[in-house]
């Protein structure tokens, strides 16, 4: 039998040419790849569009977007061919090891390397003196050095480093380096960080806040502050303590540095943000950026923990420069905990007030967060702990005080759900309590208080698409909520939690304001027809290579294996700001679409010339360009391509993305601004063993509005993975410190990540709100899905046991203590006889139901409206929706500095404002 019929494949086999001859048009007019179910109604396809059409609809060729797709790099991973940081082996390499501080806080008096230098096999040794310049991920807080300059600030802080011919020699040399310290009083309790101190951990010069260890403080008041309490009939108050958690990614940090004969440095590193390392290396090594190539290896998990420029990366480069040989440094797990950058240990005081209409007339949050020894992303984290819980609800007022302090612990930083996770948990648990006080169903309560689509939050964030309502409605049905909530027996419960997260930070961290794009993508297509994508977006396992490949494939109507992504090296890829703040899909795919549209235009033009058909009548199908009305009239992709290449050669194009202008003008207004936001609602069902306090999560229903699932397979993966990670934080993970401040569990046996046995069945539910600015409607699915699982579990624990937790993780010993307390209070002898929470609806329930259904209609109208009228938070409270609250009512305030009255009785983190900045004291 002839193989001809099967020659529609695209895979090159050795010795064969399965491609149809260039320009022949192929055998099949239409390929199986063009799936009519994926083509939107607006383009004559069968994909329903309940929320209307999208600006990218006409680019949909039905090949890739919306299809469950294995990640393009998955074959490397499952066959063990992927090279992670430690897999990079260069000829003649040396092994680098780091000398670390045994003290929490100390002055380095002297470093004696004389014995280590003598050791055979030691090639280079470096200390702080070799790299004086500071660096840090945020330009405003560059407080890190490659190695200690004057002081060490936490156990495990870097003091010196050694490169030797092998690991054991390097370790021996580390032992031989003698460091003399003067130990200083260390701080471990974040509350102490608020006080003045003899030796603050860092010195911010004229910007130093008092003589304290406050690194950043925030004060914000929005809305009708004066009436929030007088108007309230239900009040929630809870003081939370969240333990610090670590990302717990599989691959420990590893780096290889190599200077080539021309004097250029290549740094191989599993980085989420190669661009910032690029900048930091230039600063620290004092060489221009063009002399450095940052090569991102495969990344074995990041979750925010590989997004700072790191001192060990500097060390490798310095050692390699000194020794003239490649240097490899690989961490063991303990070192991963030393460098940390995990979620901040936090103390959050949450007060929520609701009025007689069941409206949220006020949220007051005070968040003290423990930054550990360095600033890292902390400036932003301090804002995020406040501003990221001002939605999805319409609020009467919002008061936030936040402070981040330095302590002598491994530095906290950004971790999946950056800054939003802990305070979100506190709010959602508070809402559960408020609903209970009002005797209404907590889901109804939420449904009746949601902001509509295309609105502005109380702090002025521009919200576009919102799938929140659908998320809530779908988990309610899927979980059989109405038959379970407050009806399960003692020890068995169900709970709801919601989430809201940025889809890309609106303001780039390291940028000349505004003009430079956030993401840029270059395309190149030569005569072979394959498309090379050059992008700087760092695939850290989340699948950004796949998303960019899918986007280009879709626009050009090509199968995925004709697309190759080159995203590893700063030498070849355009600058991308990195994989953080869930920005990559939104920004990079938008940039890729723009680039692909240019090529598409070239191809259509060429096809139009060949077929003598007007360009706007042509569509791209799978590797074929043809007349919409008469598909027989058309040319093959290659034919059109070669025509387009006449006199020009390879086609190239460039696309970029920049956020639109948004937000308001008050200080800090940019923090939390994003071109779009994701929304989610989860229901968790749990069992609590009332006699041991141990909690087991049985099942989770997880609805997430990602805008549009470009790849449903990876969206589901992100939802399930987020649940796993969030369950760790809510049930068992914590960085445990001993009484002297020692980190007791820097290992994966005692840092308790849930095992497969603890993992419940997760039912991912994808909600597609079709964001008009997102690529094909997409927003994010990488971080937002983590937020709701924590409060959902906490609320389920309440439903099961009647205990409102306010400390995470909810380990057996913590919950049991509360159970015991309650037994004592109620004079009940066994936990098995504790009262089971119950609910009898008040009159408010039906009022809220009616409001929710009206709002549902309102929302749909706003979605379908051609012209979106403004809607500012406040309308629910009788304000004119078209005008920001503060512009129409003097009671609606915006304040970002506390007044004397507040300072006379500040809350915990708010007390950071009692200090006066140095520059304001002098003169």
């Amino acid at each position: 039998m002839s193989n001809d019929d099967e020659m529609v494949g695209y895979r090159q086999q050795p010795g064969k040419l399965p491609f149809s001859r260039p320009g022949s048009g192929g055998k099949n007019q239409f390929s199986q790849l063009r799936d009519i179910q994926l083509i939107p109604e607006s383009q004559g396809g069968k994909k329903l569009q309940p929320r209307g059409s999208h600006r990218h609809d006409e680019l949909i060729s039905g090949t890739s977007i919306g299809r469950p797709t294995a990640l393009v790099d998955s074959k490397w991973k499952v066959t063990g061919k992927a090279n992670y940081g430690d897999d990079i082996r260069l000829n003649n390499e040396l092994i680098g090891k780091i000398v670390r501080s045994p003290h929490h806080y100390a002055r380095v008096l002297s470093i004696d390397i004389s014995k280590a230098v003598e050791l055979e096999g030691v090639i280079a040794i470096a200390t702080g003196a070799d790299a004086q310049n500071s660096f840090g991920v945020l330009p405003v807080t560059k407080d890190e050095h490659a190695m200690a300059i004057e002081k060490v600030r936490h156990k495990g802080d870097l003091v010196a480093c050694v490169a030797a011919i092998d690991e054991s020699t390097a370790l021996e040399a580390v032992r031989l380096i003698e460091v003399e310290y003067e130990v200083l009083d260390s701080i471990h309790d974040m509350r102490k960080g608020l006080d003045d101190s003899k030796y603050p951990i860092h010195d911010r010069g004229q910007y130093h806040i008092g003589e304290s260890n406050v690194q950043k403080r925030v004060f914000q008041e929005f809305g009708n502050i004066s009436e929030m309490v007088p108007n309230s009939i239900a009040n929630h108050k809870s003081n939370w303590l969240f333990a610090g958690v670590n990302h717990g990614f599989t691959e420990p940090h590893a780096v290889v540095a190599n200077w080539d004969p021309s004097g250029r440095l290549t740094l191989y590193t599993p980085q989420q943000v190669p661009h910032y390392v690029h900048r930091a290396l230039a600063d620290v090594l004092e060489i221009p950026m063009h002399q450095i190539n940052v090569y991102r290896t495969f990344v074995g998990g990041g979750f925010g923990g590989k997004s700072d420029p790191f001192p060990h990366e500097m060390c490798a480069a310095i050692l390699a420069r000194k020794s003239g040989r490649p240097v490899r440094i690989t961490f063991d797990r303990e070192e991963v905990f030393w460098v940390n950058r995990g979620r901040h240990p936090s103390r959050i005081e949450m007060d929520i007030h609701a009025d007689s209409h069941g409206r949220l007339c006020g949220v007051q949050t005070d968040a003290l967060i423990d930054g550990g020894a360095f600033a890292s992303f902390g400036h932003v984290t301090t804002y995020y702990n406040g501003v990221l819980h001002t939605a999805p609800y319409e609020l009467g007022s919002f008061h936030y005080t936040g402070a981040r302090v330095w302590t002598n612990k491994p530095a906290s930083g950004a971790m999946r759900g950056h800054g939003a996770v802990n305070s979100r948990c506190a709010v959602e648990v508070g809402l559960d309590d408020i609903a209970e006080q009002l005797s209404v169903d907590p889901i109804t309560f939420r449904l009746a208080n949601l902001l509509p689509p295309y609105s502005a939050t109380i702090t002025g964030f521009r919200i576009t698409s919102i799938g929140m309502r659908e998320c809530l409605e779908r988990v309610k049905i899927a979980s059989d909520w109405d038959n379970k909530f407050r009806q399960l027996p003692l020890g068995h419960g169900i709970g709801i939690g919601c989430g809201f997260f940025i889809s890309g930070s609106g303001l780039p961290i390291h940028w000349d304001p505004n003009k430079f794009p956030h993401a840029t993508v270059h395309l190149k297509i030569d005569m072979d027809g394959g498309v090379t994508i050059h992008t700087g977006a760092a695939d850290i396992g989340q699948g950004s290579d796949t998303v960019v490949a899918q986007s280009v494939a879709e626009v050009l109507g090509l199968p995925l294996d004709m697309i190759r992504v080159r995203s590893r090296e700063t030498d070849t890829s355009p600058v991308d700001l990195g994989s953080y703040s869930s920005r990559v899909t939104f920004m990079n795919a938008n940039a890729a679409i723009s680039a692909a549209m240019e090529i598409r235009k070239d191809l259509l033009k060429a096809a139009s010339k060949i077929t003598d058909t007007e360009m706007n009548k042509l569509v791209i199908g799978d590797r074929r360009i043809f007349d919409k009305k008469d598909p027989a009239v058309g040319v093959s992709y290659l034919e059109a391509l070669h025509k387009a290449q006449e006199d020009r050669g390879a086609l190239t194009s460039s696309g970029s993305y920049r956020t639109p202008p948004m937000g308001r003008a008050h200080k800090g207004a940019a923090a939390g601004l994003a071109p779009a936001y994701s929304f989610s609602a989860y229901v968790a069902e749990v069992k609590v063993d009332m006699e041991t306090g141990q909690t087991k999560v049985l099942e989770v229903w997880a609805a997430h509005d990602c805008g549009k699932a470009l790849n449903p397979l990876s969206v589901k993966g992100q939802i399930i993975g987020s649940c796993h990670m969030g369950l760790g934080q809510v049930l068992s993970e914590e960085m445990k410190y001993g009484r002297g401040g020692e980190l007791l569990n820097p290992d994966l046996l005692d840092y308790k990540i849930p095992s497969i046995h603890e993992m419940p069945k997760v039912n991912p539910i994808i909600v597609e709100s079709n964001d008009l600015e997102g690529p094909f409607g997409a927003k994010e699915a990488g971080e937002g899905p983590l937020l709701p699982i924590l409060p959902a579990v906490c609320n389920a624990v309440y439903d099961a046991s009647g205990i409102r937790v306010n400390e995470l993780p909810i380990t057996g010993d913590r919950l049991y203590k509360e159970i015991e307390k309650k037994c004592k209070k109620l004079k009940i002898n066994t936990p098995l006889n504790l009262p089971n929470p119950s609910l009898e609806h008040s009159d408010l329930q039906s009022i809220l139901e009616i409001r929710a259904s009206k709002h549902s209609e309102r929302d749909m109208q706003r979605i379908m409206a051609e012209e979106k009228t403004p809607y500012h938070n406040g309308a629910l409270f009788g304000m004119d929706p078209e005008i920001p609250g503060d512009e129409q009512d003097s009671k609606w305030e915006i304040r970002v500095v506390p007044d004397e009255e507040y300072l006379s009785n500040p809350r915990l983190a708010g007390s950071a404002w009692r200090h006066i900045e140095r520059r304001k004291r002098e003169g």
Binding site: E334, G738, P746, K752, E758
Partner: protein, 324 residues
């Protein structure tokens, strides 16, 4: 990992020959079975020795039958065996994770080193707290859990196999170049956290034997952990009994994961047998076991909680008693 020389004798005699040679050369060594405890400790530079003698090639130590389990029997095989007492299999199935159980052995489990937050850490970590009494690296350091005493280590014995075996009346058999000896399992352990057991220098455990009446015993073993996999017992309670006419005719209780050695609670159980009255007796038993144990703060859960949970575990392990 610090370098060591590995010896793999294929018989006990050969093993003891190696011992003699090493001793003549004044060299120190450790026995290694599955290595799932010893090797992590070596990696952390905890009490490392220059030589390690593996028992894995010694055929006679591998045997499993209903009255005899060799020291080298793998916990996985024990957990799957239908020949041995089901509670032994259950205890084995609760140890660590399935992967670890494939290497882990009975002998290694019984002889497991005691554990402590201040001790099971890397060398740099321990150096940063100036070490502790159990592995003081010549510094004469104090205990970090109960300071100012400098004589006692209160590290916790966190192995799962001992309680059930003790209750079943197991005899433990040991061998050394000096000869063989046997003791009841309940007399095998010896305070403190450093001494751990009665093994003399150069002595090893060869096997355990179980009495003929072993299958007349029933009961349960309950284990407290944070997670269902990997985690060492934060407390473990075995309650075993022989059925009498009304209630148990004999009753034995043993605990692990709470103190520096597993404990056989003969007094407490004896009292209950004498005054047996159903569920009240169970409550009384559970309370008396709780009272008798004194955990310290050196593992994952708070000691006060572990102590309270001993009561819950005792009650739960006794549940079957009500069905008599």
């Amino acid at each position: 990992m610090p370098p060591f020389k590995l010896h793999t004798p294929s018989s006990l005699d050969e093993a003891f020959e190696i011992v003699n040679i090493l001793r003549e050369q004044n060299l120190d060594y450790d026995w290694v079975a599955g290595g799932t405890d010893l090797i992590p400790n070596y990696k952390w530079h905890i009490n490392t020795k220059s030589n390690v003698i593996s028992l894995s090639k010694i055929e006679e130590l591998h045997k499993i039958s209903k009255n005899h389990i060799g020291a080298m029997a793998r916990l996985y095989d024990i957990s799957q065996s239908s020949e041995i007492h089901p509670l032994i299999a259950k205890s084995a199935s609760l140890v660590a994770s399935v992967m670890i159980r494939r290497s882990a052995t009975l002998g290694g489990n019984i002889c497991l080193d005691t554990r402590c937050f201040w001790f099971n850490q890397s060398e740099e970590w321990r150096e940063s707290i100036d070490y502790c009494h159990k592995c003081d690296c010549g510094t004469g350091a104090d205990c970090r859990v109960i300071p100012n005493q400098n004589t006692l280590c209160v590290a916790t014995y966190q192995a799962d196999m001992a309680p059930v075996l003790m209750c079943l009346g197991t005899t433990i058999h040991m061998s050394s170049p000096e000869g063989n000896r046997s003791v009841p399992m309940k007399d095998f352990f010896k305070l403190d956290g450093i001494t751990k057991n009665i093994l003399l220098e150069d002595e090893l455990v060869t096997h355990i034997t179980l009495p003929d009446d072993v299958f007349e015993w029933e009961g349960d073993y309950q284990k407290l952990t944070q997670r269902d996999s990997w985690d060492f017992p934060e407390a473990g309670v075995a309650v075993l009994w022989k059925k009498g006419i009304k209630g148990p005719s004999e009753l034995r209780v043993a605990t692990t994961g709470i103190e520096s050695i597993p404990r056989f609670h003969s007094e407490e159980s004896q009292k209950i047998i004498e005054t047996w009255s159903g569920s009240d007796s169970i409550e009384e038993l559970a309370e008396s076991i709780r009272k008798s144990v004194k955990p310290v703060l050196n593992t994952w859960f708070q000691p006060s909680y572990r102590r309270k949970m001993v009561k819950v575990l005792s009650r739960r392990a006794s549940k079957g008693l009500l069905e008599i």
